[in-house]
């Protein structure tokens, strides 16, 4: 980790040329830990001669002496988790809580699900997420029904300061955004273990599958969306439209964490479903369950009958 950006105090990552938030160039400082040597530019290894760049060739040769050359790649590494939150739920517990979870799924779930569902796989996985801490000065503008005159809408504007404390931004491709949002608040982030070169044996660590530049765009978009959601409480009126926010982030610190979860695949009457058991809290389960079509139709029929009776009564009155 290097010195923070002088303009917005965002913590810079190793290899950054400019701040990811405000684009202020990073001064060239000889750090001891900046020992990583990235490939130099497209150049002949024999004579260092002038070369015409041929990207299609991929491994080009020098036009003068025919020797191989090295191509410099911009330093835009794939993101990877730096720390992990350990598992606190065992395999046996995960399998057991799934049966209990079926019972809590409501009326429309088939009653036979608890007995007939067959667990096909139960896999421990560490899913990836960014945890962002930042401060933002946010200006907002929106229409609301407060102080409306002839039109139903009136414009309003304002500004506020927001703080994002360990805001979880999912980077998982395997889990949906809703699943991640359901699981994330229940993790105890005080228990963190470093991930070194050797990956943990108790679960597969999901790759971020995003390069640093793409990751930053995703984080920025998530922070903007979060800022827009949070300034809603500052806007007068009950109805809001055309809400726009302009946020200026400061002191951004991004942690890349791997979070534990049990991925359960089960089969019920020739169809496959997936559920996720929280890796630390066995009472937190999210996933899909089958619907009992007859029970749904019966409920609809009851609603229809009730409505019909009400209509008849009101017509008669």
């Amino acid at each position: 980790m290097s010195n923070p950006c002088m303009r917005c105090h965002t913590v810079l990552d190793e290899g950054d040329l400019r701040c990811a938030v405000c684009a202020l160039p990073v001064p060239v400082i000889e750090h001891k830990h900046y020992r990583t040597v990235y490939p130099e530019v497209l150049r002949c290894t024999e004579c260092a001669a002038a070369i015409t760049f041929v990207p299609a060739a991929r491994a080009p040769c020098c036009a003068f002496c025919g020797a191989t050359m090295a191509i410099e790649q911009p330093h835009d590494p794939i993101e990877r988790a730096e720390r992990r939150v350990p598992f606190g739920v065992s395999r046996t517990t995960a399998e057991a809580v799934l049966r209990g979870w079926f019972a809590t799924r409501g009326w429309f779930v088939p009653r036979a699900l608890r007995t007939e569902a067959v667990t096909e796989s139960l896999a421990p996985i560490y899913w990836s997420a960014w945890f962002v801490t930042a401060q933002a000065t946010v200006a907002w503008a929106a229409d609301s029904d407060h102080d409306a005159r002839r039109s139903a809408w009136a414009p309003h504007s304002g500004e506020t300061t927001l703080r994002f404390d360990s805001l979880c931004i999912p980077a998982s491709r395997g889990l949906t955004h809703d699943e991640c949002a359901y699981l994330a608040p229940s993790y105890d982030l005080s228990q963190q273990l470093p991930i070194g070169d050797e990956l943990p044996e108790d679960g597969v660590v999901e790759a971020f599958e995003a390069q640093r530049s793409a990751a930053r765009a995703a984080i920025q978009a998530a922070l903007d969306a979060q800022a827009a959601a949070r300034v809603r409480s500052h806007i007068p009126g009950t109805r809001i439209r055309n809400l726009h926010v302009a946020s200026m982030l400061e002191s951004q610190l991004t942690d890349r964490l791997a979070l534990p979860a049990w991925i359960v695949t089960y089969r019920y009457r020739d169809r496959r479903y997936r559920a996720i058991v929280h890796g630390q809290r066995p009472d937190v389960v999210v996933g899909k369950t089958p619907l009992d079509v007859w029970q749904v139709l019966a409920a609809l029929a009851v609603v229809a009958v009730v409505l019909a009776v009400l209509v008849l009564l009101s017509t008669g009155a």
Partner: protein, 322 residues
């Protein structure tokens, strides 16, 4: 690596440095007249560079496709024109960034609908104005005079409300040309560049390409950079405003923490010979995204014929409607 040859074009004045390149002509104007040049103290060294991502063959193909697409008002010979000269040039520019705090005042238009009485058969759009004068307090509104039979019509009107507020943003990636051979508006049309591919400058990076030296010091482009930044802020602010429309937008932007960094950007410069009696057409290609920029010569008689046709059609339509 040998020191670059410091030369200035005798015709257009572009300051050029050649590292490992054998060249006989200026990439901008094709002139073969070069003058020796001593490096100026106030001219900065590049700090960053965006590397070429496409090769000359791709650039040539893009230009040929671009020429083929110019048909309606351009010279037909462009379709069969030949690329005469093609050079990859690292063009000097400055990358500006700053913190922008803006205060704005604006009239926000909010639409609403109203039912009004209009004479039967009146044309849409001839309804009474949406600015209805209100009577003085204590005075009674005059009764309307009996007129022709009316009908009710729903019209959409706009109510303007004053709004004042602030806007905060980081202005980033404002690129301003510091080239003697490439005008600011030409570089503006070649943008955007993907600055995620930015690299720290080293002479080896530009080896094999012509590198133009800085013709303008940072102080000379400060005003232009701020103007471009103000335009970027204004563009963001226009999208930021609520309502259905707006008018009388007044913006006051204060910039802080300004940074102006010398950067080289890749441009393919091509000379296209389409007629023997005309000078070659200069075409520019973004060396990273292959965006083609040029001003193909117009054939004026074609433009005049088209204008005449449009005027004739408009006249005919007006006569029929009236």
């Amino acid at each position: 690596m040998s020191a670059p040859a410091q030369l200035a074009c005798g015709q257009c004045g572009a300051a050029l440095a050649f590292v490992g390149v054998r060249t006989a002509t200026c990439p901008y104007c094709g002139s073969s007249s070069f003058l020796p040049r001593t490096p100026a103290d106030e001219r900065p060294d590049p700090r960053f560079a965006v590397a070429f991502a496409s090769d000359a063959k791709v650039a040539r193909q893009e230009v040929m496709r671009w020429l083929g697409a110019r048909r309606l008002f351009t010279d037909r010979t462009l379709r069969t024109a030949q690329v005469e000269d093609l050079r990859g040039v690292y063009v000097p520019a400055y990358l500006y960034s700053a913190v922008a705090r803006t205060t704005y005042t604006v009239q926000i238009g909010e639409r609403y609908t109203e039912t009004v009485d209009v004479p039967i058969g009146s044309r849409p759009g001839t309804e009474p104005s949406d600015v209805m004068p209100l009577p003085w307090p204590g005075k009674r509104r005059r009764k309307p005079k009996p007129g022709p039979a009316t009908e009710q019509r729903v019209v959409t009107r706009t109510e303007y409300r004053a709004l004042r507020g602030r806007h905060f943003t980081y202005v980033t990636d404002v690129l301003v040309s510091a080239s003697g051979g490439l005008a600011r508006h030409e570089l503006a049309r070649l943008q955007p560049y993907d600055y995620r591919q930015l690299r720290r400058f080293s002479p080896a990076l530009v080896a094999g390409f012509v590198q133009e030296d800085y013709s303008l010091a940072a102080s000379a482009v400060e005003q232009a950079s701020r103007a471009a930044a103000a335009e970027q802020v204004a563009s963001k602010l226009r999208r930021f405003l609520p309502g259905d429309s707006y008018s009388d937008l007044e913006i006051r932007t204060q910039t802080q923490w300004e940074s102006l960094d010398p950067v080289l950007v890749p441009v393919w410069i091509l000379g296209v010979r389409y007629r023997a009696d005309r000078p070659p057409l200069r075409v520019l290609v973004n060396g990273q995204t292959n965006v083609v920029v040029g001003r193909p010569p117009l054939v004026w008689w074609k433009v005049l014929v088209a204008l005449g046709l449009v005027a004739g059609l408009a006249l005919l339509t007006w006569r029929v409607l009236s």
